[in-house]
Assembly symmetry: C2
Homo-oligomer: 333 residues x 2
């Protein structure tokens, strides 16, 4: 073993593992938050209703325009809490590190994770590291579990959705998926498309002020189209999407060239919300007041007519959006 | 893709992923507990003090005598809560599944995980699956995060440990590590040694009745010797281990043959406890009353004399136990 790369001895419970945890994880995440002497640590929830979620991260490459697996592992999980109506408070972190990973890369990724956690005001309160044999780990996999406290506001559930409710999205779709695709270089394309990965807590909190809000989701794997399919399955209604769905021009161009549909590509910093039609315009205005929500748009409605996902085209045509089957793009998150 | 093995399409957020989650994870873990429609789910903690822990699992082979990665992913995490003085209530589950894994194997492992969760009375309340490209995943990696509620009893912390306190262990050491080693077949040895993987909640609860209990830990990676080193680092005292440490005869024989020291091999169903010397005998008697604690023994004491880990041999000699450096056995948990 050398001192610049991860070795199997970093995973054995002995001195190298302890030093790795202290030199990288504790240094970035803060000794006060991360108690490395305890098997389990107390979390204070202030008597609120606790909510929990978990997510795994396998994105390749580990660093991409607009983010990396470290910051993504925070955003992905705090966003799942936010769209469920909770304020994120605590994270736990699992790192599966491949033998041979440069320690400088790990250090950079954990620093970025720590910065994202501070920005999202969550504490990383427990963690675990495992080292995987060379060739078995893709560099790094992360898993994060988030605990939060439910915010005041309407109870969110697909069952509350009604015929005629509106769908909105808080920004352009497909940026994250397209940025990852370009970062892989396998297509020989270079671009300046950035991942949209970011916390959505402010957007979610703003939407929760509307008592007509029925449901929120962040459209990650499978993209907006897969959220629409979930809504159809969960409500028994159909979803009609319109041609106002925001897609950035370079994203559309790359997707056209490579034969991808941005509606099926992952976002990591957007909220899809279903809201009473009477409050939709006010909700859009409120979201647009936030920097992260400047491009918020009504993108469709819930309809009892057909139990399908339908895209209305600009020229007045209609096409069915099928459920995703083959993987368009593996290891995107 | 065929229907018997995991494909990348099982990880894409579309139909195959949904069917995999419903057919395997929801079927075994219970629809009522695992809400697949929500991004985050509420957990009821009854006003108690919440505690959290997390652990990753990469054991190879996935199935071994006495357990498998599914049951281990429950035991490992609920045991971390138990030795921290908490009653385990909820788990979250991350599965990183390698493309090509037989679906029948995954089904068996998740069934075993579900059975272990029922036995430990914990609910698996949130989960996530990712699919890793063939050759990158070692079949399956799991991560579990556990949330529990602190039990009545003394506050446990290394800082409470005093000179003269006794160490006890609730059963033989090194069984898990040795069972995994033999299951790998790379040594050409066959044996009937079973992993000791099991929940320790009953043992921990029994020990918590003693107000002289200072600290508990389950000696997993790095084994008993690494727990002793942690105690030395955490307290500034030394630890003197005696020759009464229970090691099963076949474990000792295999370790002698292969040059391993069972004191450095993982257990997955034992508790090491530090307790006031005045209560040590009563605590042993209480543990021995439980089936899981029949072999409980006093194995040493905390000593202000030398700030080291010392093993007293049967013949009255002494040797220093060094901190683990090289990995004796990777992917043991």
């Amino acid at each position: 073993m050398d001192e610049l790369h991860i070795s199997l001895a970093h995973g054995n419970g002995g001195r190298f593992m302890r030093e790795l945890i202290e030199d990288i994880f504790v240094r970035h995440l803060g000794k006060s938050d991360l108690d490395t002497q305890a098997d389990a640590v107390p979390i204070a929830l202030g008597g609120g209703e606790a909510m929990i979620t978990t997510d795994g991260f396998t994105v390749q490459p580990l660093e991409f325009p607009g983010g990396n697996i470290g910051s993504l592992a925070v955003h992905g999980t705090v966003n799942d809490l936010a769209v469920a109506g909770a304020c994120p408070k605590y994270l736990t972190l699992n790192a599966f590190i491949e033998e041979g990973l440069e320690i400088a890369v790990l250090d950079r990724l954990v620093a970025s994770l720590a910065a994202a956690a501070r920005e999202a005001a969550v504490k990383v309160s427990a963690g675990d590291t495992k080292v995987l044999r060379r060739g078995e780990g893709g560099g790094l996999y992360l898993a994060t579990t988030g605990v939060g406290v439910r915010l005041p506001g309407p109870r969110l559930a697909m069952q509350n959705i009604r015929d005629g409710d509106r769908l909105l999205v808080t920004g352009s779709v497909g940026d994250h998926g397209t940025a990852i695709m370009l970062a892989r270089e396998e297509f020989g394309l270079r671009g300046d498309i950035l991942s949209d990965a970011a916390p959505v807590a402010q957007l979610a909190k703003t939407l929760l002020q509307f008592d007509g809000l029925r449901f929120m989701r962040d459209p990650t794997r499978g993209g907006l189209a897969s959220v629409a399919h979930e809504l159809v399955r969960g409500t028994g209604f159909g979803v009609r999407l319109n041609s106002a769905i925001p897609v950035k021009e370079p994203v559309r161009a790359v997707c056209d060239m490579l034969g991808y549909d941005p509606l099926y590509l992952a976002c990591e910093g957007r909220v899809v919300a279903v809201i009473d039609s009477a409050q939709a315009d006010a909700a859009i205005a409120a979201c647009r007041d936030l920097p992260a929500g400047a491009d918020t748009a009504i993108i469709g409605e819930v309809s009892a007519r057909e139990q399908r996902v339908i895209l209305e085209t600009e020229l007045g045509g209609e096409r069915f959006l099928e459920e995703l089957e083959d993987d368009p793009l593996p290891r995107i998150c």
